[in-house]
């Protein structure tokens, strides 16, 4: 099987860009990264089906000259799945935005509490609320969105302008 160099190069470029994007802290970029990676993978699956040929319709061409229809079916399935995931991730990102006023992935409260406890030398850390309790008090607190606007635009601004 000969490999189409152009497609292979495209796959390489897409994977590079996708990996770069997905390592960003900004969620929108992560989503773009997932889309790019998904497309790279789809092209890879197409390439795995071998050389492009005649449309795989019975009777229109000799069977040996046809493209592999299976990989196209697989890619269609994969595209549909990616579409669903993209929609869901967009909803999540939007929700993050309404809750946090920022596009970045926030840190894990419990992780930090453990780290802090270790720094203080294993004392039982009574400053900490349990995760559920403290999340409960903060989630969708109406004050949050009202109190946040001052610092928030600055954060968002820097987040977007840093890489340029």
């Amino acid at each position: 099987m000969t490999s189409p160099i152009a497609l292979l190069a495209l796959i390489g470029v897409l994977y590079t860009a996708g990996v770069y994007l997905i390592l960003e802290r900004s969620l929108t970029r992560v989503l773009l990264g997932i889309l790019v990676l998904g497309n790279a993978t789809n092209v890879l699956v197409i390439v795995a089906g071998g050389r492009a040929g005649a449309p795989p319709l019975v009777g229109t061409a000799p069977e040996s000259a046809m493209s592999d229809a299976l990989v196209q079916a697989l890619v269609l399935t994969a595209i549909v799945i990616t579409l669903g995931i993209t929609a869901f991730l967009l909803a999540l990102i939007h929700r993050t935005w309404t809750l946090e006023r920022e596009d970045d992935l926030t840190e894990d409260v419990e992780d930090r509490s453990v780290r802090r406890r270790l720094e203080r030398g294993e004392q039982a850390d009574e400053e900490e609320l349990d995760t559920t309790g403290c999340e409960n008090t903060a989630d969708t607190d109406p004050d949050d969105t009202e109190a946040a606007p001052d610092p928030a635009p600055a954060t968002v601004g820097t987040g977007r302008e840093e890489p340029t």
Binding site: I22, L27, V30, I34, L37, T41, V45, V47, A48, V71, L74, T77, A78, I81, G84, I85, F88, L89, L92, I93, R95, L99, E100, L105, T106, E107, D108, V109, E110, D111, R112, S113, R116, R117, E119, R120, A124, D125, E126, E127, E128, L129, D130, T131, T132, G133, C134, E135, N136, T137, A138, D139, T140, D141, D144, E146, A147, A148, D150, P151
Partner: protein, 607 residues
């Protein structure tokens, strides 16, 4: 074809079909909660019965194969129920059913007619369908689809309610799992490029002709994908981050099922497609040892019970990988038995934590105490699965670990001996972690809980807002509650420090209106007896404010799970025989391959 096998062939697709149809029906019935509940339970109960039938048939007569749509084998989708698949299906669906009853008791679904929680039942059934599809699939791409179906459902379940913590955890979870699915898809493309088929049986026969280097590359790609899904050590960091935030029944079913689908896939690929790969066996042994140790050490460092359990979950995945990596019938049998044991025990423990949260108002051992006096039943419900997880004889955890240790000793290589030592050590560390919970949360008298003189619920929140520099200073956290940091939302402080039992209900009620939190209605409505039990829940107050009543349905479902765990101990002998037979079949490979290819001469195809 005799009538019996025709009946089985008819039943085979039902574990996938029934939940999917049920999902559609429950979606339509979203305004009729009672019908929704009855339907979901009925569907899953039917699937459990079918899975039991499939297991009996598969153990007696060998793998059952159904070609969907009667397409000849390499072309169509193949469903295969060999003893391994059927056993996994039966275990997982039993646990799914019990957790569903638990969730109904918790009232995750209908705390408010207007909230999207009515999607709980449809999503849960889709998850069950995805799991069943993954277990029964005889085709690599269908396995991928099964994964995607269960993952899509799990994304929704994990972020139910869309609260801050769940969205944060959800983003991590979704991104990690999407990446692992993409890696899996790459693996599928490579397999297809190498052997030109995606049917597992056909891949396994053709893979022998593939050059070893290419085969190894494909193998590693697939292992990476499954390793992320199964949370094997270097790829496991996402799990303790995302699981603990979800609602208790969701975490329970995730912990029981999702990683085990990954483990199942690893077992399947290791035994069927790549049976003799010394490189990856060494790799898997090392990964298994590290998974066990790192997970167990992580569990010890945590204070939140849900997190402790998430880390033990990671840790015990190592046992199963250990068994698979040995690649002997003994090792694989140990792994299969361990999967069954672990699905049950881990789901049980997460259900118990849900009850602990309801009774004690917290899941952090620093804020819990006196639970044994408050609720002796709860103490028993925790104690039995906890020591089961720790591997105390004669419980099933001990049997599973013993089987794996025997397999390791029989293997005799230096690395296997190291793994035997590590697995014993991990067992002790696990015991330490769960005993710590027992001592602090259950044994410690409630009066001994160190109560902060002034509850300071904003400490985390302020730092959450970005003041990371303040982390290491207790005074800084104090200052936030006294005067408030610049930029910190001050009103919240005032509201929360003044929470008293009387006002707590109002706060929770106000939050309920925003459709934010799913766990709390449990506390608010106290299912089964209707008495509002909210006093002290927000701050996890000790002593007289601890409710002594367990919600009946939730406790009943948890009891059923504990009983199932104990039943595994009672029937450990026959169960281990089944696991042995499954392992012998898996290692021999021929029963599976022959059963699939025998299907090509099925007379129904020659129509």
């Amino acid at each position: 074809m005799n009538p019996g096998s025709t009946l089985l062939a008819t039943l085979m697709p039902l574990p996938v079909l029934l939940p999917l149809l049920g999902a559609g029906a429950t979606l339509v019935l979203s305004r009729r909660p009672t019908l929704q509940r009855v339907l979901s339970v009925a569907v899953l109960a039917a699937v459990v019965v079918i899975a039991a039938l499939l297991l009996v048939a598969a153990v007696q007569n060998g793998p059952i194969v159904v070609t969907v749509g009667s397409w000849p084998v390499p072309l169509g989708i193949t469903l295969v129920a060999d003893p391994l698949s059927a056993l996994m299906l039966l275990t997982s669906m039993s646990v799914t059913l019990a957790v569903l009853v638990y969730a109904i008791g918790q009232g995750v679904y209908d705390r408010d007619e207007a909230t999207p929680i009515t999607i709980f039942h449809p999503t849960y059934l889709v998850l069950a369908a995805g799991v069943a599809n993954a277990f029964l699939s005889g085709d690599l791409f269908n396995l991928y689809v099964g994964f995607e179906v269960l993952l899509m459902a799990s994304y929704v379940l994990l972020t139910l309610g869309g609260t801050r913590s769940r969205v944060r955890a959800g983003v991590t979870y979704v991104v990690v799992n999407v990446v692992s699915s993409l890696v899996f898809l790459v693996g599928i493309a490579l397999v297809y490029a190498a052997v030109g088929t995606l049917n597992l049986a056909q891949i396994s026969t053709r893979m022998e002709a593939v050059p070893p280097g290419t085969a190894l590359a494909i193998h590693l790609v697939l292992l990476t994908a499954f390793g992320i899904k199964a949370a094997v050590f270097p790829l496991s960091a996402w799990l303790p981050d995302s699981y603990p935030t979800a609602a208790a029944p969701v975490t329970a079913v995730f912990a029981g099922l999702l990683t085990k689908v990954g483990v199942y896939s690893i077992i399947r690929t290791e035994t069927l497609i790549f049976p003799d790969s010394a490189v990856t066996q060494t790799l898997l042994l090392v990964a298994a040892g590290l998974t066990m140790l790192v997970g167990a050490l992580g569990a010890i460092a945590q204070a939140d019970i849900k997190r402790i359990l998430s880390f033990t979950l990671v840790s015990h995945i190592g046992y199963m990988i250990f068994g698979v990596a040995l690649a002997t019938p003994l090792g694989v049998a140990g792994a299969v038995f361990y999967v069954v044991h672990h699905i049950t025990v881990q789901a049980t423990l997460f259900c118990v934590v849900g009850l602990v949260e309801g009774v004690g108002g917290s899941t952090s051992v620093t804020r819990l105490g006196g639970l044994m006096r408050a609720s002796p039943i709860l103490a028993v419900l925790w104690f039995v699965p906890a020591i089961n997880l720790g591997g105390i004889p004669p419980l099933s955890g001990f049997v599973g670990k013993l089987g794996l240790v025997q397999a390791g000793v029989a293997d005799g290589s230096a690395l296997a001996w190291v793994l035997v030592a590590v697995s014993v050590l991990t067992s002790l560390l696990t015991l330490y972690a769960v005993t710590k919970v027992w001592v602090l949360a259950f044994w410690r008298p409630a009066e001994q809980i160190p109560v902060p003189d002034e509850p300071d619920p904003t400490a985390d929140q302020d730092e959450d807002g970005g003041d990371d520099e303040q982390e290491d200073g207790v005074p800084a956290a104090r200052a936030s509650s006294d005067g408030g940091l610049p930029g910190a939302p001050a009103p919240r402080t005032g509201t929360l420090t003044s929470v008293r039992p009387g006002t707590a209900r109002t706060i929770a009620g106000a939050e309920g209106n925003t459709g934010a939190e799913v766990d709390w209605p449990v506390a608010r409505t106290a299912p089964a007896d209707g008495v509002p039990l909210l006093s002290g829940r927000l701050l996890g107050a000790p002593g007289d404010r601890v409710s002594r009543r367990l919600p009946k349905v939730m406790a009943g479902a948890t009891c059923a799970l504990v009983a199932l765990g104990l039943a595994l101990t009672v029937v450990a002998g026959p169960l281990y025989d089944v696991a042995d037979q499954a392992a012998v079949d898996l290692v021999a490979r021929t029963p599976y391959i022959d059963a699939v290819f025998a299907q090509t001469v099925d007379d129904r195809v020659a129509r």
